[in-house]
C-alpha cells in the first residue's frame, strides 16, 4: 500500500511546476559553479613551486594577528557571532562593555582604537564586498599586529576576558582561534596533504565534498518550495475533505508524500553528482589511484540528505499546521541568514544547517572533524524525524477537527 501511494505521490511531484524550476536551477547552478579549473590544477606538488595552497597554522604570532583582526571587525560592527548550543546567536555589547573590548584591543596592539579603525577601513576599501567569497578573502588577508614584547600567555588572558564579555561559543575560545588561522603550506606539508587526498579520499570523495559545499547552499532553500507546494495543494484543489474521509492513516498519507518529495528532490542531486564526478574518477586513474566510484552516492547522502530531510520536514510541518506559505519565509530566513552568518568556508560545523567545505582536499583536517560532522548530520536526521511525526499528529488532529487548526472551519 505504501509503495503504491509513494509512486502516486512521485507522480504528483513530477507534475508540479515548482519541481521543474528546482531541477533547472539546481543543475544550472551546480554546473556553473563546479568549474573544471580545480581539475586542471590538481597536480602532485613538486619541490620549488611558488605556492602550495594554505593550511591551518600553529604559529603563535600568526594566530594572534589573525584573531585580533577578527576581533577588531567584530568590535567595530559591535556584532559577535556566537554558537552557544551550535545555533547562531548574535551578541551586541553595551557601551561600557564595548569600551572594555576596545581597551583590550589597544592593550594588545599598543595602538589607539581610532588608529586601528582607520587602518581597517583602508584595508577593506580595496575589496569588492558583494560575493561571500570576496568578503572572506578581504577578511583573510586582514591582519592586526601585536605590540612588541606581547606574549602568547598575555594574549590568551585577553581572549578569556573577551569570552567573558560575549559569552560562550564565540571565535575567541582557545579551541576555536587555534584552528582558524591559515598560512601558505610548505612543500612537505603540501606533499603530505596530497598523499592523504590520494590514499584517504581517492580523489572523488574530496571532490564530492566540494560539490556538497555548493549544493548545500542551494538545498538549504530550494526544497522548501517543492514541499510547500505539495502540502498546500490539497487545500488549493479543495480535496482536503474527501481525503480526510478515507480510511488511509495519516502516517501513510504524510509518510508517502514526504518520502516521494525527498526522493524526487534527491534524484537531480545524485545524477548531477555522478556526472560531475566522472572526470575526477578518470583523472585519479592517470595518477595510478583507484578512485571511489560510489563517492557520488556516499558523500551527498551524508552531507546533503539530512539537510534536505529537515528542510522538507519543516516545510511539511509548518504548512500543515498553518495552512499558509509561512514555511517559505522561515526557510529563506534560515537558509540565507545562515549563509551570511557563516564564519568560515571550511569546517566548524557545530549545528549549522549548511555545513561548508569550500576546498578540494584538506583530507587530514576533514578526518579530524568527521565526528563533529556526524553529530551535526545525526542531529538533523533526528530533528527531521521529530518534525515528521509532529506533522502526522497535526494532520490527524486536523482530520478530527474538520479542517485547519488555526483558521475558522465552516
Amino acid at each position: 500500500m505504501f509503495g503504491a501511494m509513494f509512486l502516486k505521490e512521485c507522480g504528483q511531484v513530477v507534475k508540479s511546476l515548482t519541481y521543474y524550476i528546482y531541477v533547472v536551477v539546481f543543475v544550472l547552478f551546480m554546473t556553473s559553479q563546479m568549474s573544471s579549473e580545480d581539475l586542471e590544477n590538481l597536480q602532485e606538488p613538486l619541490p620549488g613551486q611558488p605556492y602550495y595552497g594554505e593550511t591551518v597554522t600553529k604559529d603563535e604570532t600568526l594566530i594572534m594577528e589573525g584573531t585580533l583582526a577578527k576581533l577588531m571587525q567584530d568590535v567595530w560592527r559591535n556584532s559577535f557571532a556566537t554558537y552557544p548550543l551550535g545555533f547562531y546567536k548574535g551578541i551586541t555589547l553595551t557601551d561600557s562593555e564595548k569600551k572594555q573590548a576596545e581597551e583590550i584591543l589597544a592593550r594588545c596592539t599598543g595602538k589607539s582604537y581610532e588608529t586601528l579603525e582607520e587602518e581597517m577601513k583602508r584595508h577593506f576599501g580595496q575589496y569588492d564586498q558583494v560575493s561571500p567569497e570576496e568578503t572572506m578573502a578581504a577578511s583573510a588577508s586582514y591582519k592586526v599586529s601585536v605590540k612588541e614584547g606581547f606574549t602568547y600567555a598575555e594574549f590568551q588572558t585577553a581572549m578569556e576576558e573577551i569570552c567573558r564579555l560575549v559569552g560562550k561559543g564565540s571565535s575567541y575560545e582557545k579551541t576555536e582561534y587555534e584552528n582558524e588561522v591559515y598560512v601558505p603550506m610548505t612543500y612537505e606539508q603540501a606533499k603530505e596533504e596530497f598523499d592523504a587526498l590520494c590514499s584517504q579520499d581517492g580523489f572523488t570523495r574530496a571532490y564530492m565534498r566540494l560539490f556538497c559545499d555548493y549544493a548545500g547552499i542551494m538545498l538549504a532553500i530550494l526544497p522548501v518550495f517543492v514541499g510547500v507546494s505539495r502540502a498546500l495543494r490539497d487545500r488549493r484543489a479543495k480535496v482536503q475533505q474527501v481525503i480526510f474521509s478515507k480510511p488511509a492513516s495519516g502516517a501513510l498519507i504524510i509518510g508517502s508524500r514526504y518520502l516521494a518529495n525527498l526522493v524526487m528532490v534527491g534524484i537531480p542531486v545524485i545524477v548531477t553528482a555522478f556526472l560531475l564526478q566522472q572526470p575526477y574518477y578518470y583523472k585519479a586513474k592517470t595518477f595510478g589511484i583507484q578512485g571511489d566510484l560510489l563517492a557520488f552516492l556516499k558523500v551527498p547522502c551524508l552531507w546533503l540528505l539530512p539537510e534536505i530531510m529537515i528542510v522538507l520536514a519543516l516545510a511539511f510541518l509548518i504548512t500543515e499546521f498553518t495552512d499558509t506559505i509561512a514555511a517559505v519565509f522561515v526557510q529563506t530566513a534560515w537558509g540565507i541568514g545562515g549563509l551570511f552568518a557563516g564564519d568560515t568556508l571550511v569546517g566548524n560545523f557545530g549545528l549549522k544547517l549548511v555545513t561548508r567545505w569550500n576546498t578540494l582536499g584538506q583530507s587530514m583536517y576533514y578526518a579530524s572533524l568527521k565526528n563533529e560532522l556526524l553529530r551535526n548530520k545525526g542531529f538533523y536526521c533526528l530533528l527531521a524525524g521529530v518534525c515528521l511525526i509532529l506533522t502526522i499528529l497535526v494532520y490527524e488532529r486536523k482530520r478530527r477537527k474538520g479542517g485547519s487548526l488555526i483558521w475558522k472551519n465552516i
Binding site: A4, Q241, V242, S245, P247
Partner: protein, 292 residues
C-alpha cells in the same frame, strides 16, 4: 450486519455558536433525505457521521460502531462532500484510482473496480478528461464513484444536485436510488424536489434542531386540507402576501394565479388543492419561525 445509523442527543458547537443541539435520529436502510435551509446544520451532521468533526455531546453509532472509532467509520462510509473536487492535473481514471488507493484497495481490486465504477457513473468514455476541465455534473459523478468504490454500507452525500442542470439532476437521483439497495444513502439537500422524487423517509433540520422526522406522507399530512389555489388581481398580490403564506405565483397579464397555505378558506373564489412536499416544507418552516 446491522445497517443503521443511531443518533441520540447529538450536540455540536463551533465556539459559542450551536450548530447542532440535541439531535436524535434513527436511520435504516434505503434512501434517507435530510432537508433544511442553508446553515441549518446539515453539513455538520454529515461530518459528524463521517468522523470529520468531533461532537461535543450525545451518542452516535453507524452500523453499531461509535463515531469515535474513526478508522472503522471511514471504512464503512463513503462521503461526497458539498464542494467535491480533485487535483486538476489528474484525469478521471487517475483521480478515482488515487482515492481507491486511499480507501485501502489493492492493485488487483482497483484494476477491476475503477473501470467498473466509471462505467456506472457514465464516465468511462471521458476517463481521460482532466478534472480541471470537467463540468460540475461530471465532477459530481466522479464524486459519487469515489464514495461507493469501496462498497461502503453507508453513503453520505451533501447537496449533490446543487448546480446541476435538470437533466443531470434527474440522472443523478436515479443513480442514487440504484445504489441504495441494501445500504443507507443519506442525502442532504435544500432542494425539495430531490427528496420528493427519491426518499421515503426524511428529517427536516432547522437551526440545528430536528423539526420533523418521519415518512414523506406524514409530512404531507401536516398540510392536508390547508393548501388553496386562487386567481386574484395582480395588484392585490402584496396585500395577500402579507396576510397568508404564498407558495406559488404565476402572473398572467393583470391577474395572478397563486397557491397559498391557510388554516381556513381564505377567500370565496379559492379552491382546495393537493399539497406537495414544497408546501409542507414551507408550512413547517413558517411554523418554526412562529415558535421563536
Amino acid at each position: 450486519m446491522d445497517i443503521s445509523i443511531e443518533i441520540k442527543g447529538l450536540t455540536k458547537n463551533y465556539g459559542k455558536k450551536k450548530a447542532l443541539s440535541e439531535v436524535s435520529l434513527s436511520i435504516g436502510p434505503g434512501m434517507f433525505g435530510l432537508l433544511g435551509p442553508n446553515g441549518a446544520g446539515k453539513t455538520t451532521l454529515m461530518k459528524v457521521l463521517t468522523a470529520l468533526v468531533e461532537k461535543n455531546g450525545g451518542e452516535v453509532t453507524v452500523c453499531g460502531v461509535p463515531v469515535e472509532d474513526s478508522r472503522q467509520i471511514r471504512n464503512m462510509t463513503g462521503y461526497l462532500p458539498q464542494d467535491f473536487s480533485m487535483y486538476g492535473n489528474m484525469n478521471a481514471y487517475e483521480a478515482l484510482d488515487y482515492l481507491a488507493l486511499l480507501s485501502g484497495m489493492n492493485r488487483a481490486e482497483r484494476k477491476v473496480k475503477v473501470p467498473e465504477m466509471l462505467e456506472k457513473v457514465n464516465l468511462r468514455e471521458k476517463q481521460k478528461t482532466k478534472v480541471r476541465s470537467m463540468s460540475g455534473g461530471m465532477k459530481r459523478r466522479l464524486g459519487i464513484a469515489q464514495a461507493i468504490i469501496h462498497d461502503p454500507k453507508v453513503i453520505i452525500v451533501d447537496e449533490p444536485t446543487a448546480g446541476l442542470d435538470p437533466e443531470e439532476r434527474v440522472r443523478f437521483r436515479n443513480l442514487l436510488c440504484e445504489i441504495a439497495k441494501d445500504r443507507i444513502v443519506l442525502l442532504s439537500t435544500h432542494i425539495v424536489g430531490d427528496i420528493e422524487a427519491t426518499c421515503e423517509n426524511i428529517a427536516v433540520l432547522n437551526q440545528g434542531k430536528i423539526c420533523f422526522d418521519g415518512k414523506l406522507t406524514k409530512l404531507l399530512s401536516l398540510v392536508e386540507g390547508k393548501v388553496y389555489s386562487a386567481e386574484i388581481a395582480a395588484v392585490e398580490l402584496e396585500k395577500v402576501k402579507q396576510k397568508y403564506m404564498v407558495t406559488g405565483i404565476l402572473t398572467t397579464g393583470s391577474t395572478a394565479n397563486i397557491k397559498i397555505i391557510a388554516d381556513d378558506k381564505p377567500f370565496p373564489q379559492a379552491r382546495q388543492v393537493q399539497p406537495d412536499v414544497e408546501d409542507a416544507y414551507m408550512y413547517l418552516m413558517h411554523r418554526e419561525e412562529g415558535k421563536r
